[in-house]
C-alpha cells in the first residue's frame, strides 16, 4: 500500500474542502478503501477521515419513513428494532452482508460507495486492462472467467457485477440519497457502465453522502431479502432479491409489489416489468413464476454466468411466495 497523508476532518465542510483537493478521498469504515489501496486499485494521496464527525450516525424511524445518517454502521441499522419491523428487507439485506466485524466498521454511506468484486478489477498487477480502472484500456473479464459477472446492465466496456445487498433493498423501496443540499433517488445514484464504467455513482467532487431516506410503505413493511450464494454465509450473492408486497383487503390480491435483484446486474436492479405483471392479480404460484421470468428480461450471459439467468427468477418467485404465506 502506497503511503498517503492522513487528516481527521473536524466538520462536514472541512471534510468536503479537504476531499476536493486532487488525490484526496474520504475515509469512513475503510472496508473497501483500505482493501483496494492494498490491492493497488486506489492510490490516494490524502485520506480524510470522517468517522469522528458528530451527528451523522442517527437512525430515525417514523410513520413517513426512515432517515439513516451516512455514518450509521451496517450492524447497528440491521439490529435496529424499527428497521426490523418496518423495513425487514433492509435489515435482512444488512445482516446477510459481509461479517459481523465488517458490519461494525462499514457505514451506510460507505456501503453505497462499495466497489465491484470483479477479480480483474481488483488485480491491476496481473490484469492491466480494465475500463473501470483505466478508461479505454479494455476489459479482461470479457472472454475471461465470468462466473461472478453480471448478466443485466452490461456493456461492451464492462460486465462487472454490483456486489452489495443493502442498495438492492433500497432501490426496491424508492430510497433517496442525501448529498448535502441535493437529493438523488438511489436508482439514479447508481450508474450503468455504458462507455464510462469508471463512473459508478451520480456524485460530484465536493459532494458527500450525508444520509439516506427510505419512504415508509405497506410493501416495505411486508418485505424480505432472499440471498442465494455458494456458501451459507459470508459470501456475495449468486442471485438475491428484495421483495415487498401489499395486498388488497382480501389478503390475496396484490395491490403493490416491489422487486429488485442483486448479484446479477451491474447496479442494484429494479425489476418493474415483473412488478407490473402481478399488480392487481391474485398471488398464486404459477402466475408468480411466470412474472418472475420478466425480472431478467434482456439478460446477456458470458458463458459461465449463464446460471444466473435461470437462478434469479427462481429467487424472485420464492421470495414473493414466502411473503404470500405470511398474509
Amino acid at each position: 500500500m502506497k503511503d498517503f497523508s492522513y487528516l481527521r476532518a473536524a466538520s462536514v465542510d472541512a471534510a468536503l474542502q479537504a476531499a476536493a483537493l486532487p488525490g484526496a478521498m474520504l475515509l469512513a469504515g475503510g472496508t473497501t478503501l483500505i482493501d483496494l489501496a492494498k490491492c493497488g486499485v486506489t492510490e490516494p494521496e490524502t485520506l480524510v477521515d470522517i468517522t469522528h464527525l458528530k451527528g451523522l450516525n442517527s437512525i430515525e424511524v417514523g410513520e413517513r419513513g426512515a432517515t439513516i445518517g451516512a455514518l450509521a454502521r451496517m450492524g447497528h441499522v440491521a439490529d435496529h428494532g424499527d428497521i426490523k419491523s418496518r423495513f425487514p428487507a433492509v435489515s435482512e439485506a444488512l445482516w446477510q452482508a459481509a461479517s459481523a466485524q465488517i458490519r461494525n466498521m462499514a457505514t451506510i454511506g460507505g456501503n453505497l460507495m462499495q466497489r465491484t468484486r470483479c477479480p480483474y478489477f481488483r488485480d491491476p498487477a496481473n490484469f492491466p486492462a480494465c475500463n473501470k480502472r483505466e478508461p479505454g484500456s479494455g476489459c479482461s473479464a470479457i472472454g475471461g472467467v465470468t462466473r461472478g459477472h453480471a448478466v443485466l446492465g452490461t456493456s461492451n466496456a464492462c460486465i462487472a457485477m454490483y456486489p452489495g445487498d443493502l442498495a438492492v433493498a433500497l432501490v426496491a423501496f424508492d430510497a433517496v440519497v442525501h448529498l448535502g443540499l441535493r437529493q438523488v433517488p438511489v436508482d439514479d445514484f447508481f450508474l450503468l457502465p455504458g462507455t464510462t464504467p469508471n463512473r459508478e455513482h451520480a456524485i460530484e467532487p465536493g459532494e458527500m453522502i450525508t444520509a439516506i431516506e427510505i419512504p415508509g410503505s405497506a410493501s416495505a413493511r411486508r418485505s424480505t431479502y432472499l440471498k442465494i450464494r455458494d456458501r451459507q454465509s459470508y459470501e456475495f450473492a449468486a442471485a438475491s432479491a428484495a421483495v415487498g408486497v401489499e395486498f388488497e383487503a382480501d389478503g390475496r390480491t396484490i395491490r403493490d409489489l416491489r422487486v429488485a435483484l442483486g448479484g446479477v446486474a451491474t447496479k442494484p436492479w429494479r425489476a418493474r416489468a415483473a412488478e407490473d405483471a402481478l399488480k392487481g392479480k391474485v398471488l398464486e404460484p404459477d402466475a408468480v413464476r411466470a412474472a418472475s421470468l420478466l425480472a431478467v428480461e434482456g439478460a446477456v450471459d458470458h458463458g459461465a454466468n449463464h446460471y444466473k439467468i435461470e437462478l434469479a427468477p427462481r429467487v424472485v418467485a420464492r421470495a414473493i411466495l414466502k411473503l404470500g404465506e405470511t398474509a
Binding site: D3, F4, I34, D35, S233
Partner: protein, 157 residues
C-alpha cells in the same frame, strides 16, 4: 511520507508512536508494540484472524488505520484475562478443544466474546451465522460452536 504522532489506548495501556499514516492497527500492534496475539491472516478483511475490539465492538485490525483509533479504546486477546484468570470464552475454547493449529484462535475468541455480548449466541445456527467472519482452515468449527455455546451460558448465568 511524514510520520504522524499517534496515541493509542490498548488494553488499558497508553502508547505514543510515530507512524506512517498507512500503518494499520494490525501492523502497529504486532510490529511496533509486540502484541503478536492478534494474527495476520489474509490482510484483506476476509478471514477474521485480526479481530480486535474497538470501543467494545469487534472489528478487523487489518482494515483499520492505527491513526483512526486515536481516542478510542482498543482491546486485544492479550487484554482479555483478568488478574491471571482466563476469560470464560478462553476457558471454554480450552475445554471444548476448539482449535487445532491455533492460528485463527485469538480472532475466534475476540469475535466470540463480542458475539455473546451482542446477544447473537442464542442457538447453534445463530452462532454459526454471527461467527461466519472467522475462518478456521483446520475445520474446528463444531468445537468452536460448542465453546461459544458453553461460554454464552456461563456469561449469561
Amino acid at each position: 511520507m511524514t510520520k504522524i504522532h499517534v496515541q493509542l489506548d490498548i488494553n488499558g495501556d497508553h502508547h505514543e508512536l510515530q507512524l506512517e499514516p498507512r500503518v494499520t492497527l494490525l501492523d502497529a500492534l504486532r510490529d511496533r508494540l509486540g502484541l503478536t496475539g492478534t494474527k495476520k491472516g489474509c490482510d484483506h478483511g476476509q478471514c477474521g484472524a485480526c479481530t480486535v475490539h474497538v470501543d467494545g465492538e469487534r472489528v478487523l485490525a487489518c482494515l483499520t488505520l492505527a491513526a483512526q483509533v486515536e481516542g478510542r479504546t482498543v482491546t486485544t486477546i492479550e487484554g482479555l484475562a483478568r488478574e491471571g484468570e482466563m476469560h470464560p470464552v478462553q476457558a471454554a475454547f480450552l475445554e471444548q478443544d476448539a482449535f487445532q493449529c491455533g492460528y485463527c484462535t485469538p480472532g475466534q475468541i475476540m469475535s466470540a466474546v463480542a458475539c455473546i455480548r451482542e446477544g447473537h449466541a442464542g442457538s447453534d445456527e445463530e452462532i454459526r451465522e454471527y461467527m461466519a467472519g472467522n475462518l478456521c482452515r483446520c475445520g474446528a468449527y463444531p468445537h468452536i460452536v460448542a465453546a461459544v455455546r458453553q461460554a454464552a451460558l456461563e456469561v449469561q448465568s
